[in-house]
Symmetry: D2
Subunit: 345 residues, 4 copies
Amino acid sequence: MIRAGVIGATGYAGAELVRILTRHPETQLTLLTSRQYQGTPFSDIYPSMSGVVDLTCESYSLDRTIAETEVVFTALPHKLPMDIVPELLTAGIKVIDLSADFRFKSVSSYEACYQPHSAPEWLKKSVYGLSEINFADLQQSELVGNPGCYPTSILLPLIPLLLAQRIHPDSIIADSKSGVSGAGRSLSLTTHFCEVYESFKAYKVAEHRHNPEINEVISQTIGREVHVTFVPHLVPMSRGMLSTIYADLTEQTTMDSIFSILEDYYSDHRFVRICRNRRLPETLRVRGTNYCDIGFRIDQRLNRIILISAIDNLVKGAAGQAVQNMNIMFGLDEALGLDDVPAPL
Amino acid sequence: MIRAGVIGATGYAGAELVRILTRHPETQLTLLTSRQYQGTPFSDIYPSMSGVVDLTCESYSLDRTIAETEVVFTALPHKLPMDIVPELLTAGIKVIDLSADFRFKSVSSYEACYQPHSAPEWLKKSVYGLSEINFADLQQSELVGNPGCYPTSILLPLIPLLLAQRIHPDSIIADSKSGVSGAGRSLSLTTHFCEVYESFKAYKVAEHRHNPEINEVISQTIGREVHVTFVPHLVPMSRGMLSTIYADLTEQTTMDSIFSILEDYYSDHRFVRICRNRRLPETLRVRGTNYCDIGFRIDQRLNRIILISAIDNLVKGAAGQAVQNMNIMFGLDEALGLDDVPAPL
Amino acid sequence: MIRAGVIGATGYAGAELVRILTRHPETQLTLLTSRQYQGTPFSDIYPSMSGVVDLTCESYSLDRTIAETEVVFTALPHKLPMDIVPELLTAGIKVIDLSADFRFKSVSSYEACYQPHSAPEWLKKSVYGLSEINFADLQQSELVGNPGCYPTSILLPLIPLLLAQRIHPDSIIADSKSGVSGAGRSLSLTTHFCEVYESFKAYKVAEHRHNPEINEVISQTIGREVHVTFVPHLVPMSRGMLSTIYADLTEQTTMDSIFSILEDYYSDHRFVRICRNRRLPETLRVRGTNYCDIGFRIDQRLNRIILISAIDNLVKGAAGQAVQNMNIMFGLDEALGLDDVPAPL
Amino acid sequence: MIRAGVIGATGYAGAELVRILTRHPETQLTLLTSRQYQGTPFSDIYPSMSGVVDLTCESYSLDRTIAETEVVFTALPHKLPMDIVPELLTAGIKVIDLSADFRFKSVSSYEACYQPHSAPEWLKKSVYGLSEINFADLQQSELVGNPGCYPTSILLPLIPLLLAQRIHPDSIIADSKSGVSGAGRSLSLTTHFCEVYESFKAYKVAEHRHNPEINEVISQTIGREVHVTFVPHLVPMSRGMLSTIYADLTEQTTMDSIFSILEDYYSDHRFVRICRNRRLPETLRVRGTNYCDIGFRIDQRLNRIILISAIDNLVKGAAGQAVQNMNIMFGLDEALGLDDVPAPL
């Protein structure tokens, strides 16, 4: 049994990690930390887990973490992980960080939209945890920068087509829509019930911090700098993310040809499902699961592809992919502990 | 492995049975039937299960059912099961019926609110599948009348207090609130999105067919005829049911005394959780799970207890309790296949 | 034109007052105050009113208020109004207070659930603003204690039947359900989107501060002390309130007899609609309006009536009734400025 | 008073017309027709209007319509209006048709996505009812083809920039999101509550029938054929539509320059609001109103503009704009009867 800890367990991504790790057959959850709730039983904060999870939140301690865990998931606001992760790594603990702190290769890109980086030497050693894309590197990694939810939903459909040179990188527009849990558990007017219900809106248009993250990965994929237009929106629902991605095709192509590229690329990975038979992804169909459903259409007159992907922002977009990465790092089946049967509704 | 079939697999309760049985460790799902969708892959109807469930819906056939199953779940509209269940039982197949057809002991009560019963001789042999209450009888049963969702949420908190003679049976008022999935997948204006969203309403006030079901069980419990006031309401959400139940206490009593009665009664049953520490049940905390959370308050000046229970109407209120009953009938741990870790939200 | 001010204009009730008063044909909105947003244009806070309302929020000033208004609506948290209202009244300004500060006749009842009252001498002069019930007194009043939303929805159906002695006062149970806007615009986990969506729950069971308010009005109505059981619930929607009220009938009675009592009582008041033809109230049908829809059923075997009422908690439950009271105080048609045609959905 | 009728009054657009026309100060609503509900009081179908609207639905009759009305709104499924509108026009009645039947200039475009047109000679005489854009033509018109909801939300922000030659017409991508009421009141799984709630999805990707409507108007605007990529999505809420529109700028430009173009173009039209001060449109801010809110950002590195517009799909996207067009046709202030003060939430 792998002894695992969650640093920052009481945010939504942290709590979802607790849910998944509790029933993971090869993991023992040994440590939950919380600045805000130290000393409080976890199930007092999330009563759904009453009678199921009996750990109590502690304040973070390096010694305790070294004593109790082999792997930790840091589900903290960015800036905090870069201060504590290096010492955990030095102590031989594997780390999967869900913040932005270890996602970037370029220090300057990180610093342009976050803040000065206190552990830049670790950026090179960190592996970007897009599980299906970086599978081989993840097997060797000690530190994973777990991807943002938006980048996950945008990069999974795009990368196979970029590698196959079927789309013009400079033409990419990603119009994404997220449920409210993506904004976390911290209080703000933006997530106040009455301000959200019956409201649909865009936010941080072309200035969201996931934009440079997407740009960097695509740039690395094709070997030159690319800038993508990215607009996130807020949907009045709790969970789920759908991205509609527009790109010009490099040549006239058939739907079958695109299906082949996508299906071949993901043939060894069960969590990416390519939607056939005119079905298109819907968030409800991936709710609570680690799936990324991908579908597409071609606007023939403009020779433009429209890719659509759906994930659960808290699972494949955060905690689920983090556990998938842990599985890969430890040489386990990538689906272990993540094989819930999706609900019909 | 127990070979199991779902007769009527494409309604919401049927689909939820498919979800649960697919990951049940001692069950092999061998047969799905549907009048409307025969020949259609189940995952075309519920794309969430694409890549997970690969059965195709068939039309119902007695011979096929006998050949393929040891236990069947009939998730059909009432009236249909009573015509097909007897021949299945005669063939030695165990049956858990989710309709009202085998819930009543009294033929006349059934016929007063449904229609003439074509298999009244089976009513005596059927066990009412309120798992925790009728556990011993269920162990011996071949036929289970699985309870309605409202009766489940109302009877579980009431029965221990009725048995302990702490409440006046004639004073009971049950004010229940259900998510929309309880109305099923059939189309109607009542479940048309725009008619439900931003709407809260009562329906079938004091004339819902679950009312005589509740009356009969309470009457049997205390040994004389009782009539309960029951008012169901529709909540603009998909899943979840909360019942607020009012009853006069028979004597001055403390909260601790009530806690003891409830906790003692359910001490061997993990799916009933008694809420302590001033926590009260909320539907979100049981969503997607087989739990029934129970809490209460006492209105001291009136010596009246207010019991509150929360279930997921499709799980503990239908498919989950049905599988729990199967577990009991087959001598398995009642929680087998039902031990999802509840989600934080 | 009546010059009107809203003290505390940026909460939900205050903002709804701004909406209604802006189009009131006999009112000129002259003053908006806000502690939090002084100096901010009102339409920056509520962009829906951009181009429609061009007032800027000010901090409260007695002199400004005296100079600018003839009537003010105080939409502040309780405790604040009792400190500023007396001096406004002394200056000859009529006041409609939406807090609890001037709702009670009994100082001790108020103080038992709020705090010491600093202006108890005004409680006797204040009129409880249940418009249809206290119409005559409101015509003479200088100070109105505008009712709570729950009391409004519970008292309007009950009072005619209590006056006609058709129900036993001691048997009353009120099970109420409110949309989230009733909790106001202040941030809390209780109103955080993800904690509410897909959740239905009871709160402050038998200990909500509207309970003594209901008790006092009923006690005054029938001339002896009565205690009502009251349980509020939170519905995952923005606006709307439905109360289901149970009471034992004093004698066998017909539905027609009850209809007559209700219809006669409210024959001069258009905002109370008695639902005929088996229709029952639904919150969607009164959304955004000042209506209170009332319907009922009789549980014959128990001789118990089940009354159901629906209001918009921000309109008839707060701002709308406040303006209705202003109309009555100023001798105008009570419906002036409140005659929106309700939307179909 | 203008005597007005609504042909097809019981769908959502028809019912919204009833709401608006009932309180229009210069209109008398004289006739409501419905195939499905003839003989039924309108307020039985929409109980919100009980006590407010006392008309009864009739079956359609040419003679009755001629006798009772000067203007009719046809809110029928396409194909029906083209059979009855010509005879109404011949009888001198003005017609505002909310279907697609009279929106197109090109018969072949209409026939390519709908069906053979039975009154093609009227297409030339019909005016496309985008009120602010075709104001002058509407003043002279007898027949208006009221725009689709999606085209309204997409064309209003685009046309001023196309006329000013600031954007490349061939680069336009419109990603639109609509509340469920746009799908109407007819029952289907697509609008079944549990299939929509917690779900976000795209539909009719690059093949929606509003796409050729958008193409035709833009082509006419700039004088050559243009094809736009258009993808509609369904949002789990009742009302509201937001369009996010991407286009390449023809030259480096400032935000102020774009603001000037938009504000100058709409300076005489109060229902188009250009959002300043970094505010972006949200559907909640236009709910229940005839406003179209427009905002934008520029993605500098790509010299691409992102326009965002929000409307209420049933008001500015259907019934409200139809009444606005009636006002223009009859020489009234375009805002008459449409000047509700928007609600704060």
